[in-house]
């Protein structure tokens, strides 16, 4: 048993800290500190920077593939130190999800076309999974891909196309056969988002943000060569991709950063003639979530670095997702609560650089409540927490 990092991880940790301190642009860190994300051109720039550090844009890739060739522990440390030092996330869809799937299932042509581009961060991806009538029950999807010579012709609509409005390519699940079991007859296609017949409708979330979209397909023609894996057997690819996410499911280090910000806010906020952090009940609420977070952090570490390592982790990952989102939600809720009346103003523009009207309330007034509202999504997306409990009940408990 050893609770400390190995020396090579410690070394990497120092390197990433220095990188975050010296190289990550201030405006990126600023977005993160406001509980926000970078997107679009900023994401491309960020991926390029990471790539130039030595393939950090693809932290799980081997040296042969152009990645950094890190151990699991180093990958863990990498994700963690970025978060703890207010750097943006590494966009997952490319090197974290579709990249490995292309390595595993893709033709030589697809590999040559996409892998170097993914590594260099030249492509932003989106995911085409959910549909209006298939949310939790993903396999019931109906957007069709009908073979027509060298092409598939797509018709239907996808929901929750996150970052679709910035994406160059989509990897999506399409129905090529409806005659069998619903998991059969699904095919994975890589779709150029500029193909005629694709239309995006923004879906605003109730906090007022635009992160996701509905995607309409009207006779969209995709070359057969863009198929990933066997026709009709795309469910296998989808499950492979799902199993890739090993690090950061619990968002522990992002939550640690948010918690540190919450504590600062509680020190700054006035209460009863003193500071909010000195109100015992508010301090207790903070400590409670801090200890929940510590228990979660250790649990993630136990799962990752216990017997068998990260590859041995199965449905336990569902637990990390459930508890991780609960903790995130609690921290953002407390942050809004900390601001009292100043959680109410809706003036997001005052966070922007160069804003020069008189600000309303302290800085967090610009994001606290919105972030709380926005975070409600986390227990719904990527398989709702109810679905995750079903998974655990079946796979871990055998019920």
């Amino acid at each position: 048993m050893e609770i400390a990092y190995r020396p090579e991880s410690e070394a990497l940790r120092e390197e990433i800290r220095a990188f975050c301190r010296d190289e990550v642009p201030e405006e990126f860190k600023r977005a993160v500190r406001h509980e926000g994300e970078i997107e679009g051109e900023d994401s491309r720039r960020w991926l390029r920077m990471l790539y130039e550090k030595g393939g950090w844009s693809a932290p799980g890739w081997s040296r042969e593939l152009g990645g950094p060739g890190w151990t699991y522990e180093q990958q863990y440390v990498f994700e963690r130190e970025l978060a703890l030092n207010d750097a943006p996330r590494v966009p997952l869809f490319g090197a974290g999800m579709i990249g490995p799937a292309i390595i595993e299932f893709g033709s030589r042509a697809l590999q040559e076309q996409f892998l170097p581009a993914i590594l260099k961060g030249e492509i932003l991806w989106c995911q085409g999974y959910s549909e209006p009538n298939s949310g939790s029950d993903l396999a019931s999807l109906q957007t069709s891909a009908v073979r027509d010579g060298d092409h598939y012709v797509l018709n239907g609509t996808k929901m929750w196309t996150s970052d679709g409005h910035h994406a160059d390519w989509m990897f999506g699940l399409f129905r090529t056969d409806n005659s069998g079991k619903k998991q059969h007859g699904i095919t994975v296609l890589l779709v150029d988002m500029r193909t005629p017949g694709i239309e995006l409708r923004p879906i605003l979330t109730f906090d007022g943000g635009h992160e996701t979209n509905q995607t309409f397909f009207d006779d969209v023609r995709v070359p057969v060569g863009n198929r990933l894996g066997e026709e009709h057997l795309g469910w296998t690819v989808a499950k492979y991709i799902l199993g890739l996410e090993r690090f950061g499911t619990a968002e522990v280090s992002r939550s640690q950063s948010s918690l540190a910000r919450l504590k600062r806010i509680a020190r700054d906020q006035p209460s009863s003639g003193g500071r909010l952090v000195d109100d015992e009940d508010f301090a207790d609420a903070i400590t409670e979530v801090e200890l929940e977070l510590r228990a979660l952090e250790l649990t993630e570490q136990r799962f990752l670095f216990g017997p068998g390592g990260p590859d041995a982790m199965g449905a336990e990952a569902s637990m990390l997702k459930i508890r991780g989102t609960e903790v995130q939600q609690r921290i953002t809720e407390l942050t809004a609560e900390a601001l009292g009346y100043y959680s109410q103003p809706f003036v997001p523009e005052q966070l922007a650089e160069g804003y020069n009207e008189e600000p309303v309330g302290p800085t967090p007034a610009g994001y606290a409540a919105r972030s709380y509202f926005n975070m409600r999504k986390t227990s719904i997306y990527s398989g709702s927490n109810e679905i995750q409990k079903n998974i655990i009940a079946k796979a871990v408990l055998g019920l």
């Binding site: 879906i203 906090d207 007022g208 009940d281 809004a336 009346y341 109410q344 109810e386």
Partner: protein
């Protein structure tokens, strides 16, 4: 002991419900809150014509002499329909400040104007450093020969942009957290030296930062009979308890709407070839939602039926306990409503998330649940 509505009260409630259903559908609501002033002036005139602005005011001052129950019924329906208007600012906060703090003359002059919809008010009592402490007033009103000079910063003043006059708490004596020495003033919204920064709130409401820089008011603009200077804290507390009753009823109306809309969704949405409502885990959670609605409903009665008791401690305990219980349960119900809707519950186009926003804003108004728990303890010891 009888918890039934009278026939008149039932008719009143149904007429408000009809207005909300017919005149304030969700898409209309969204259009209204997206533009200034955040509500429809024609609606406001209807409120006046239908007697809703007058409902809870005494007959002596142009009101209809209703009980707090009428105010509860109105707010509940507003909550169900997410109705945003200056009702809370004008009738609940402003008019009650005049009613409980004003001189006979002020009441006779101003309240009939409120009842008729000719006068809109706002109540500026909170400050950046005060959080939820009503005694924490740093704004000063210094006596001058013919009146007062007001200086200070009032924060998150609801619907100040619509108000004709603003009731402002300011200190005529004492240190900034002294219970004594606070007075209330009527300030013209266009007064010289009053600088306002108006903004929308998360829930589509409106609020303002008001900075008073040497704003001059006359001696007659201080609320109350002569000789009552510096004794306004009990008035403020009473006004805020009225506001607590109102927003508790509003939150409970919102909770019932969340309950009904979520239940409908569970009954119709299918996944895995079954309605969501057939899944037992979701059934049990929906039962929890139902129970929380009922508990909140009970606490709305608690505060409403104790609003006019003479003993301020009894009233305050009822208000604190209601705000606490309603707040906690409303938060849970609002969150569960979104969760049980799944992805669609996150969208801007569905009402469900907007209920959570309104509930959250109510929780951070007039003292959040934590503050109310503490207040209840202080009033009980």
């Amino acid at each position: 002991m009888d918890f039934s509505l009278s026939e008149e009260q039932t008719i009143f409630r149904d007429s408000v419900a009809r207005f909300v259903a017919e005149e304030y559908p969700f898409d209309r609501r969204q259009a209204l809150v997206a533009e200034e002033p955040g509500y429809d002036g024609a609606h406001w005139r209807r409120f006046a014509e239908l007697g809703w602005l007058a409902a809870t005011l005494p007959e002596d001052y142009g009101g209809l002499g209703g009980t707090p129950v009428e105010g509860m019924l109105l707010a509940e329906q507003f909550g169900r329909g997410l109705v945003m208007s200056p009702y809370l600012a004008t009738v609940v906060l402003g008019a009650n400040a005049i009613l409980h703090g004003g001189s006979e003359d002020q009441k006779r002059t101003l309240l009939p104007q409120v009842a008729e919809g000719r006068l809109k008010l706002a109540f500026a009592f909170a400050e950046p450093q005060s959080r939820y402490d009503l005694n924490d007033v740093a704004t000063t009103a210094r006596g001058e020969k013919s009146g007062y000079r007001i200086d200070g910063h009032k924060g998150v003043v609801f619907h100040a942009a619509s108000a004709d006059r603003i009731v402002v708490s300011a200190r005529t004596a004492g240190d900034s957290r002294d219970p004594d020495g606070i007075s209330l003033f009527l300030v013209d919204a266009k007064a010289e030296g009053l600088e306002a920064r108006h903004y929308p709130t998360q829930d589509g409401g409106r609020a303002s930062e008001l900075r008073f820089d040497g704003v001059r008011v006359g001696a007659e603009d201080r609320l109350g009979e002569p000789g009552t200077e510096g004794s306004a804290l009990p008035v403020i507390e009473r006004v805020i308890d009225h506001a607590i009753a109102s927003v508790c009823a509003e939150a409970t109306g919102a909770m019932w709407a969340v309950y009904e809309q979520t239940l409908t969704y569970l009954k119709t949405r299918e996944q895995f070839g079954r309605t969501l409502g057939s899944f037992q885990a979701l059934q049990h959670r929906m039962v929890d939602v139902y129970m929380k609605c009922e508990l909140a409903q009970s606490m709305v009665y608690e505060v409403t039926l104790h609003l006019d008791v003479p003993d301020a401690v009894v009233r305050g305990r009822a208000a604190a306990s209601a705000k606490y219980e309603v707040g906690r349960n409303a938060r849970d119900v609002g969150q569960e409503g979104v969760q049980l809707h799944g992805g669609i519950g996150m969208t801007f186009d569905l009402p469900i998330g907007h209920y959570l926003k309104r509930i959250t804003m109510i929780n951070s108004s007039f003292g959040d649940p934590r503050h109310q728990l503490r207040r209840y303890q202080h009033l009980s010891s």
